[in-house]
Symmetry: C2
Subunit: 224 residues, 2 copies
């Protein structure tokens, strides 16, 4: 095999195993076994298991963020002087996500599940790495979201953001299984692109739900 075919084979295997089993539950021996390379290759090429985890994220997150930023550029240009509305921001995000991983002939579910694990599993180094590397794109998305929902307080928007993220990551991460269950139950097939068509209105409606007044500490500013 070519010089650094090994690197890609390790990344491919790790990507798949991490997604389906989590980080701690996936050993280097499983990865190297699946990849058909020597055990020591991981530490030789990546230095440590932690660095391998980060490399897996970097390989799909870097091109995704580039594509997303470009899509945001187009969106803001189209919307002219007005800031883009909520539903188009969401739709740009999700459609960029859906389009992306075809490059590598991989189900989108894998990347969504990885993204979910990054939040869920307590890997401090990963959170720090993602924060340091991709906070720019994330902040830009948050800014677009903020301009699209000026009526929300900062706190409310923060939580609703998390709800959106959860609904998206959770559903898409198991989209294959969910689609199969639905097929068995109702005889209806739902391609991934169509799940997004169900998802976006749900998210948009949730984001724009009327705020209920509850025991606030008097700190419910509705601005920056």
């Amino acid at each position: 095999m070519a010089q650094s075919d090994t690197v890609d084979r390790i990344l491919d295997a790790a990507e798949e195993l991490f997604a389906e089993r989590g980080f701690s539950e996936t050993s280097l021996r499983m990865i190297t076994g699946k990849a058909g390379v020597n055990l020591a290759a991981v530490n030789y090429h990546f230095g440590s298991k932690k660095s391998l985890i980060q490399a897996v994220f970097a390989r799909f997150l870097t091109p995704f963020c580039i594509a997303l930023e470009a899509a945001f550029d187009r969106l803001e240009a189209e919307a002219a002087p007005e800031p883009p509305d909520l539903e188009s921001v969401l739709r740009v995000l999700t459609s960029t996500l859906v389009e992306m991983p075809r490059q590598h002939d991989r189900s989108i579910a894998i990347y969504m599940r990885l993204q979910g694990l990054a939040y869920t599993q307590s890997q401090g180094h990963l959170r720090r790495f993602l924060e340091a590397e991709y906070s720019h794109t994330f902040d830009r998305f948050m800014r677009l979201l903020k301009n699209a929902t000026p009526e929300l307080s900062a706190v409310e928007r923060y939580w609703r953001n998390q709800f959106m993220l959860g609904a998206t990551a959770f559903t898409l991460s198991s989209s294959d299984a969910l689609t199969e269950i639905l097929w068995n139950k109702l005889g209806v097939e739902t391609p991934n692109e169509e799940i997004v068509d169900h998802l976006v209105p749900f998210l948009a409606a949730g984001m724009q739900a009327h705020t209920v007044a509850h025991g606030n500490r008097g700190n419910s500013d509705s601005g920056a």
Copy 2:
């Protein structure tokens, strides 16, 4: 110490450590260390680590499901011949959750995070245990949900259910981290009881979002 003080001490320590670190990342030595008991006590009293995990869930899920069923009884009685509406179903669920763990002088965050981990971490035995033990209550909740959203097609309800589940499980499973981030960013502290107050309107609005007509295969029956 009394006869089976040890059992409770182990459960207390395990509960807390599992919630903040996950299952695989928490060793029996951490648990017994924190509990101040001997390492072998876990295998003596519970048989295995898997059984301990299940025991931790059983200790809070069993009384919770009993309380929830009672609350559902009251709700259905109050609503008279009509089925209870969506928001009250959701609110009964969440408020029962919030009220419950005070009995044991414990932050609700721990139980929320445990519940999230049950979905997130790939512990096959746990999922099977919860399915076998608590599916009755879960099914009843699903039935209430169905009667509260008769306008939705079966397909649409299926997906929106997943979105709700995702938003809830995902957010609650990392509520501590998210609360901390929010504190660093905006200087606002959000007790877990209040997260639920943000969550319910979001979910209700999402469930009741207007359906958009998209490429349907002509099979959008709105019945059972």
